[in-house]
């Protein structure tokens, strides 16, 4: 997971779990995470992948997420 | 007399302590007492006082023990399980006849519990949870004004009797704001003399503060001395408030926060012509037995309202005349009665009163 690009991964954010702390976007080497203008039901501007194509699936975002709101699936591997 | 200020109960308590000459505060954080601690943290340095956050409640009460032995007015504060941890220390203070003020901003128990306001520390406060035959004077404020006034009084009582005094509040009283007029600050030089204090035995014989005398006989004698003191306090220091008691046939008994809620119910019932009154114990130890002694014997029905499972009710039962009937409304764990609930209980008793 040392930042090496993985192919064909799907990074998904759970908007209801997200508290908008910004850790994911802070550590994302590709700066592909943005925040919604809307509030979720708990009053947070939640994170989302604003440029999925550029995501290299390094997983840093998920490693840092305190709310386990990020899920990474490897789709096409092996 | 100063101007009217809008303050929380925790702040009013802290400020009144400072005005009573308290310059030493040792405590450990716990919700819902924190605002008191934080108030003292800000204010004490301004008056050259000492604020020290201790490593635990055990340490806090021990620091109080030390500062009190030095003859200083000193206070600590905690809540519920934090007070439980102080029980040994409080018993030592009582045994050593040292004055101090302990504030319990009660939260709901047992165990860790939750921070909702509660009165479930009544027994812990009034029965002593430490070892031995000792008593702590316990005062139960019911407003921000009383958070100030009773704290101020507490320091005087503590010094007068050389005994710990506890303020038994709760999270609601601690955190609500109301207008308050604070007592005028005491002149530090005019505080009571304490010839017994430890200040270094220069040019005088040594002073000793002992939680255990050296012989069995001395310990028995100490207990007798304490007992005499407690009897004197019981005789002299009972405090309570009567509300609509002149012609009451049903009497609600409640203290602190629950007395405020009950007052609303009593007022509503009065508006409908129901002869209900209220006794609000202000000193919880000594319990105001006298409030019940002079009672018109036509009062036969009491309704004790507590935010606990039934603790003060024992004191009410021990105080009312024979043949009285005592009911209880209350639950533990942070439950809060509504004025409506109490009102309905009053109505029920009113309807039944002729058949009792």
């Amino acid at each position: 997971m040392k930042g090496k690009p993985l192919k064909a991964v799907k990074v998904s954010f759970d908007p209801e779990r997200c508290k908008g702390c910004g850790y994911c976007s802070f550590v994302c080497p590709k700066h592909v995470i943005g925040f919604s203008e809307n509030f979720n039901s708990r009053g947070f501007h939640y994170a989302f992948l604003n440029d999925p194509e550029k995501c290299i699936g390094c997983g840093f975002c998920a490693l840092m997420c305190p709310d386990i709101a990020i899920r990474i699936e490897v789709i096409n591997k092996d | 007399m100063g101007e009217k200020l809008l303050m929380t109960g925790n702040e009013a308590c802290g400020e009144a302590a400072i005005r009573a000459g308290c310059r030493f505060f040792f405590a450990y954080p716990i919700t819902p007492q924190n605002e008191l601690l934080e108030y003292m943290a800000r204010r004490l340095p301004e008056v050259n006082g000492v604020f020290l956050q201790s490593e635990s409640e055990l340490a806090a009460i021990s620091m109080v023990y030390g500062a009190s032995a030095a003859g200083k007015r000193v206070m600590t504060a905690s809540s519920a399980c934090g007070i439980a941890l102080m029980q040994e220390g409080i018993s030592y203070l009582a045994a050593s006849q040292l004055p101090c003020v302990i504030v319990d901003v009660t939260r709901a128990g047992p165990g860790l519990g939750r921070i909702a306001p509660s009165q479930s520390d009544y027994r812990q406060a009034t029965r002593g949870g430490g070892d031995g035959d000792y008593n702590v004077i316990v005062l139960g404020p019911a407003s921000v004004q009383e958070m100030a006034d009773l704290t101020f009084l507490a320091f005087d009582l503590a010094d007068k009797y050389r005994n710990p005094v506890m303020i038994l509040a709760d999270g609601m009283l601690g955190q609500m704001m109301e207008p308050v007029i604070l007592p005028d600050p005491l002149n530090l030089d005019k505080l009571p003399m304490k010839p017994w204090a430890l200040t270094g035995a220069k040019n005088r014989r040594r002073n000793l503060i002992l939680a255990a005398p050296y012989t069995d006989e001395e310990l028995i004698a100490l207990n007798e001395e304490l007992n005499r003191k407690y009897r004197a306090i019981k005789a002299r220091e009972q405090l309570w408030e009567n509300i609509y008691m002149e012609d009451a046939e049903i009497v609600v008994v409640a203290f602190g926060t629950s007395s405020r809620i009950a007052t609303e119910a009593v007022e509503n019932a009065r508006r409908e012509g129901i002869k209900v009154g209220m006794i609000r114990p202000v000193s919880l130890w000594p319990f105001p037995e006298k409030a019940f002694k002079g009672m018109d014997t036509s009062v036969k029905v009491y309704l004790v309202v507590e935010m606990n499972n039934g603790q003060m009710i024992e004191d009410v039962l021990l105080s009312v005349p024979d043949k009285s009937i005592v009911y209880h409304v209350g639950k533990g764990g942070g439950w809060r009665p509504t004025p409506r609930l109490i009102y309905e209980e009053i109505i029920k008793l009113w309807r039944r009163r002729l058949t009792i």
């Binding site: 009053g43 | 809008l6 919700t31 609500m176 109301e178 405020r260 809620i261 007052t263 004025p339």
Partner: protein, 188 residues
Amino acid sequence: MREWKEKIVMAGFGGQGIMLMGKLLAYAGMFEGRNVTWLPSYGPEMRGGTANCMVIISTGRIASPYIVEPSSIIVMNQPSLDKFEKAVKSNGLILVNSSMVNRAVERRDLKVFKVAASELAEDLGSVHVANMVALGAYVKVKPIVKIESLEKSLSSVLPVYRRDMLKLNRRALKLGFREALEVEGETS
């Protein structure tokens, strides 16, 4: 003098300045010689979720500071409306921050007002003064204290490090006072 007692619950997200709004109202009440109480929903032992505070202003003595049946509520977000709508007493009042509440008030026995507090506050330059906008709007529709008393009280209530915001807060109060709107067709 007529006797009256107003029981107001203010609610919103933590961070929306709910406590401050309540304190300001209580201060103003005190300055006008009323009896007042202010009670926070408290405890930092648990963060997130909604915050609320309860203010009572009365010409007579106030028994319990805890409000079971508010005569008014000021709701700054949707979860607060969900939580408190049912509790308001009949013929009571709801003031809604329409910037953050999407649904309509369901009860038909209440007076309902709205103000786009968050948006108006952003227009003023800081979403943080949405609370003042709402409070200004509230005393417009329920004149239990004068807006001048609120303005005067501001300096006692604002934390020291926010004193530079005094002006902005005053403007927000006034803006709210102007912008309060009765919600037509929703009152009975």
